[in-house]
Every structure is written in C-alpha cells, then in structure tokens.
C-alpha cells in the first residue's frame, strides 16, 4: 500500500498571524506524523497563487483589519478555485478575521464590505469586544465531546442557511445572543475560537484529518493516540470554565 500523504496549506501567515495560530498547524501535522501518515505544510505567501488542487487542508487565520482587507483582495482573485475546492469537500478552517471574510459581508472601519460569500453569514461590528474562555458542544463530534477555546472579537456574526459549528455553553460565540458558535458548510469550519484551538481539542483535529483523508483516499482510519497531555489540558479547561456559566 502506498504511503498516505496530506498537504496542509497555511494561507498568508505573514498577514494573518494573531494569537498563536501555529498551534493548529503543528497539531494537524503532528497528529498525521504520529500515525505514520506523511504530512507537508505549505506556507503560502501573498505573492504566490494557491494551488488548491494540491491541498487537502487549508488554514486561514485572523489578523487586524488592514491585513484582513489585503487577504480578502488576494482571495477574491482566486475565488473560482477556492469555490471549487470547497464544493468538492476540501477542508478549510477559518478563524476570526478569516472566518468573517468568508461571509457575505464583514466590517471594515465600521462599514460592511463585501466578503467572499463562501459561507452564508453576515458580520457587523460593535464597540464592545466579546472576550473570554469558551466551551461549546458540537454536533460534528460524537459522544457529546466538548470543545474549549478562547474568543476575542468585536464582530457580531449572524448565520444564514449554514449550520452552526456548535452551541455555546460558556462564552459569547457568534454574537453573544443566539448561542451559536461558528459556522459549518460542507467541510468548511469557521469560528471565533482563535489561537491554539486544535492542540487541546484533539477530537476536532481528528475530525478534520478524517475528512481530508476520506476526500483523498476514500477511507480514513485513524489509529488512536495516547493524548495524555491533550486530555489533561482539555479537561482542565472544561472543568474550570464550564462551571462558570
């Protein structure tokens, strides 16, 4: 049997690099390597075109307003291949600013501007930032596994036809009102849970890897990993932050 190999595209880290996004890339890569699956991370800079056909997982992080606008223009030019990638079940994880600009509109200097329209969401901005630890439960994961993270955003996102990523148990989520957190369309996952989301939510990392392997190879059996440090970090956060609400 040939060796399996997954290619992860990290989009524009020189522009979108707030809050420890690298933790997510490290996690995806290592959880493949630990299972004997080859993994390659391709860092895509603003001067190169993205070869979506060659990618299995794409990561889009968060940045400040100025940088978000540059990224939106860059992706606008490659929107056709991005759409094809998404429609064919390509895995795309978008966080904070990256999440917002995938929507129909997102705020820039307080004004709504047109986004990429990949996700049916609209985002407005509010002066009061929504900041804090978050615990959600997500239908993406079996066994009622919880997801822990941290959010820090001024955006208020409303979902159109797409499904939420999860239900907020602690924290604010998309807008602080309707208990939804993030958005899911096909294998696109958008969320305000920034920074090291995947390291301490290994079940979510494995869900994404499974989707990428299924799309590429038609099968995805992931060997169980020990995950001692992962589980302890996860459980600590659940225990401490869930009871607050």
């Amino acid at each position: 049997m040939e060796n399996k190999r997954i290619r992860i595209g990290h989009l524009y880290p020189e522009l979108l690099n707030l809050y420890g996004d690298t933790g997510n890339i490290l996690t995806l890569k290592n959880r493949l390597l630990w299972r004997g699956i080859e993994a390659e991370v391709e860092t895509i800079g603003k001067d190169s075109m993205i070869d979506f056909k060659n990618l299995d997982i794409v990561f889009l992080g968060g940045g400040s307003d100025r940088e978000q606008l540059i990224v939106c223009h860059l992706l606008e030019q490659q929107k056709e291949s991005l759409s094809e990638y998404v429609e064919s079940g390509g895995v795309l994880v978008a966080v904070c600013g990256g999440y917002q600009l995938l929507g129909k509109t997102y705020p820039l200097d307080g004004q709504p501007v047109k986004g990429l329209g990949i996700l049916d969401i609209e985002t407005e901005v509010n002066d009061e930032r929504l900041i804090g630890n978050v615990v959600i439960c997500s239908g993406l994961l079996s066994k009622n596994e919880l997801i822990v993270g941290f959010e820090n955003h001024a955006g208020r996102t409303r979902l159109g036809s797409c499904e939420p990523f999860g239900k907020v148990l602690t924290g604010y989520g998309n807008n602080g009102e309707d208990d939804t957190c993030g958005a899911v369309y096909k294998n696109v996952l958008g969320t305000y849970l920034h920074g090291p989301l995947l390291p301490k939510n290994p079940a979510l990392a494995d869900y994404l890897l499974e989707k990428a392997l299924l799309r590429k190879y038609g099968e995805a059996e992931l060997l169980p990993l020990e995950d001692q440090a992962e589980k302890e970090a996860h459980q600590y956060a659940v225990k401490r932050f869930l009871k607050q609400s």
Partner: protein
C-alpha cells in the same frame, strides 16, 4: 478638604495593607481617587520641573526605575511608582504617598510608569512634560484587543499632552510613528549598527503604519526592531539623536552612547539586547530632564532589579535565576538568556491566567520553545494555573510527557527545581506567577542564610 481626607485615607490604607504583607501600591490609590477625583490633578501640579511618563509593552519598569535612580542620584526630589503599579490607581497612590498630611508634594520630578491602555485615563488628570515609549509588542490581548488598539490608545493619550516631549525607541516602527509629523520635539534612541543578533520573528509592525506597504530592513535586532524603511511612502528609521554603537553582549551589556558631541561608554551587568534599550532610553530621558550628563556608573552598578528581572539567588551552592516573561517577545528574549548559558540546567516554566496576566494564553504557541531542545535542559518542570497547557505546548516543542514534571502548585514546583543535580536552574514565569515563585525562592534562600 476632600483632598486632605483622600490623602489621609490613602496613607492609612497603604500602612494597613503593608501590615498585611501586601505591596499596598494600587488599592489605596483607588480609595483616594474615590474620595477626591481631583487628587491627581491637584498633587501633580505641584511638581516643579518635569513629569515623565514611561510606557510601552516591555521594559517599562526597568526603564522607569533607572530613570528615577538617575534623578534621585543627581540630588533631586521625586515622585515615582517604582513597584510597577502602573494604572490610574497606582499613579494616584504614588502621589498620595509622597504628599504631606497637609496636601503638599515636595517634588521637582515625577517618574511614572503607565500602562498603555491607562495613559488615556491618567493624562486626563495629569499632563506629562515628557513621554518615553519603549516598544510595542502583542501582550495581554484579552485586555487590549489588537495591537492597533494599543497604538490608538497611545495616540489619543499623546493628543491630550500636546506639549510633552517624546523620547522613543527609534528602531521600533510602531513606536517611532508617534514622532512623525508631530508638532513637538521628539528624540529617537536607536541601535545604529547591525548587532548580528538579527532574529526576525516579527509578528506585528511588519507593515508601514502610514501606507500599509511591507517594510524593508537593512538589519533586524529582534521582533520588528531594526533599521527599517518603507519603499512606498518613505517612512524610515530616523537618524538617532541618541545613537547606540559598539554593542557587546558577552559579559554583561556594553555599548557606546552618542548624543551630539557627547560620547559615553556604558558597561553594565545587565543581560540581553533588550537591556540596551532600557538603559539607553532611561539615560536619554535623564540626560534631557536633568540637562546634564547623568551619573550612569553609580546608578547602574547600584541598581537592584525588580522582582524576577534576571534576579539571581544562591541556594545550596546552586544558582537560581528568575526571569519574568509575559508575552512572546519577552519570552523569546528570556529563552535567549537560557541558551546563552551553556551549563546543564533544570528549567521551570510557570504560567497563570489571572486578569492581571491576561486570561488568553494563546501566546504560548508563539514562543519559540522548540529552541530549548538545544539548551541542555536536564529536568523540565511546568507549573502555574495553566501547567496543563504548558505541558501540551512543551510536548509539541519536543519534550514528551514523561520528560516533564507537571505540578500546578508553584511552591512545590519551586522545591522540585532547587532539589536537582544541576549547578544552575532557571525559572521563567509570567506576571502573577513570578511573584509567587520569587517569594518562595527568596524564603528558601533566607532559610539557608539563617542556618535553616
């Protein structure tokens, strides 16, 4: 009368909280402010010469305290918040403590460290005559939002003090922007040579503050600090007014500082390139405030670092070095100090996530812990409220679970640290954890001196 009442209440509260073994440097100020909101205005007006404010992400405390020492050493009276209580209450407290019970402040100078986000609040009541800005890095993002917001806070604060002179780190494009087109004197302090340290792990400030074009660098010092220029609008590193050259970082920090015709060779026991900026900025501010050359030798050699700034202890013939690091830029600099020591060592990492630390610990993933694989680490101990997250981070940095000792109780972790075989140990801890760690280690040292 309200003012007097406020001063008395504040003094009483300081006394009471010190009896309880606390620092008493912030809460009494809050009390005083509640009784008399004009307290800061009324007391700061009595300062006869300069009111100097130091702000910026890293190096505030060291820069401000060195500056205060220069001024004190030159024989002047001053108000300062040297314990690092740097929000509005802390500043109020520093003035109330200095005031007489009749409401008089006898001070020629005030040297105040003020947190970036608090500048706007503080300047509403007190107008500084000089503002020193050290650098801007990402730090405690849950409190400040993005770095752009911090820039905005400072811009708004500076607009409230239109006559204040600026003394800025000219190598930091995010900081030097405040001097551009500013209708006021601005002095740039910069390292005017390639020090060869040149790591470029810049996360912010890569783009021009004025036109968003990517900045070009002739050389980097660390993070976004270096000789930058914008290829599009022409924004660039100014010719420094206080120029640092001939930098040597082996055996302490040594460099030549040139201001106009004056040249001073500075030697010190400080460590790391970041110390060059702290020393040079405080020297520049003192030079301008005193209008004569400050006596740097006596001040630097007598300077006692604040809690956990490369603080050294001796326990059982073993050297224990404590260093506070609370954001990626600071932590990477602290790792440099560990890496520069080529002895085998035990290492303790401590991270809390209390409000004063910043509740968001995402930044741990931006610290280049992977470099510790080369640091001859014998035992690795992770502690603090977020010991679990640290352990996970260190697993990814190449230290498997069984190579780490996890102990969330900082006191016990400190005992592990000093009980090992190595002749040197390092403790790197963030804001609130460094205070706990320092008091435990100090106690151990004390026990030893007094014969156990």
């Amino acid at each position: 009368m309200r003012l007097l009442l406020a001063i008395w209440a504040c003094k009483l509260a300081i006394f009471a909280s010190r009896l309880l073994g606390k620092k008493g440097s912030s809460m009494p100020g809050q009390l005083a402010f509640k009784i008399c909101p004009a307290i800061l205005t009324l007391l700061s007006k009595q300062v006869t010469k300069e009111i100097i404010v130091v702000c910026g992400t890293n190096g505030k405390t060291t820069t401000n305290n060195l500056l205060a020492s220069y001024i004190r050493h030159a024989g002047h009276s001053l108000v300062s918040n040297e314990y690092g209580a740097n929000m509005l209450w802390g500043v109020c407290c520093a003035f109330a403590e200095k005031a007489s019970i009749f409401g008089k402040v006898k001070a020629e100078y005030a040297c105040l460290e003020v947190d970036e986000a608090s500048c706007v609040k503080v300047f509403r009541y007190m107008e500084p005559t000089m503002v020193v800005i050290t650098n801007l890095f990402r730090d405690q993002l849950d409190r400040y939002g993005e770095i752009d917001m911090t820039v905005d806070f400072i811009r708004r604060a500076l607009a409230m003090a239109p006559d204040a002179k600026l003394i800025v780190n000219g190598d930091d494009p995010l900081v030097a922007q405040f001097g551009e087109k500013a209708n006021r004197p601005c002095y740039y302090v910069a390292v005017d040579e390639d020090t060869g340290a040149g790591v470029s792990e810049a996360k912010e400030g890569k783009f021009c503050s004025f036109c968003s074009t990517e900045l070009l660098y002739e050389y980097h010092h660390y993070s976004q600090l270096g000789k930058f220029s914008c290829p599009s609008c022409g924004y660039k590193r100014h010719t420094p007014d206080f120029s640092v050259t001939e930098v040597s970082l082996t055996n302490g920090v040594n460099f030549t500082l040139t201001f106009g015709e004056e040249t001073t060779r500075i030697t010190s026991r400080f460590k790391g390139l970041y110390s060059v900026y702290n020393i040079a900025l405080s020297y520049a501010a003192a030079r301008l405030a005193l209008n004569k050359k400050p006596d740097y030798e006596k001040v630097l050699s007598a300077y006692k670092p604040q809690v956990g700034r490369m603080e050294e202890f001796l326990i059982g013939g073993k050297t224990v070095v404590l260093n506070m690091a609370k954001n990626p830029a600071g932590f990477n600099q602290a790792l440099d100090a560990v890496l520069q020591d080529d002895r085998e060592k035990d290492l303790l990492l401590a991270v809390n996530d209390l409000p004063q630390d910043g509740m968001d610990i995402s930044w741990l993933w931006d610290v280049e812990f992977e470099r510790l694989k080369q640091a001859k680490v014998n035992r690795l101990i992770v502690t603090g409220m977020r010991a679990d997250e640290l352990m996970l981070r260190m697993k990814y940095a190449g230290f498997a679970e069984k190579q780490q000792i996890k102990c969330s109780d900082i006191k016990k972790a400190a005992e592990f640290l000093v009980s090992g075989e190595t002749t040197v140990c390092y403790g790197l801890a963030n804001y609130s954890s460094v205070f706990t760690l320092q008091s435990v280690i100090k106690e151990m040292e004390g026990r030893e001196i007094s014969g156990k």
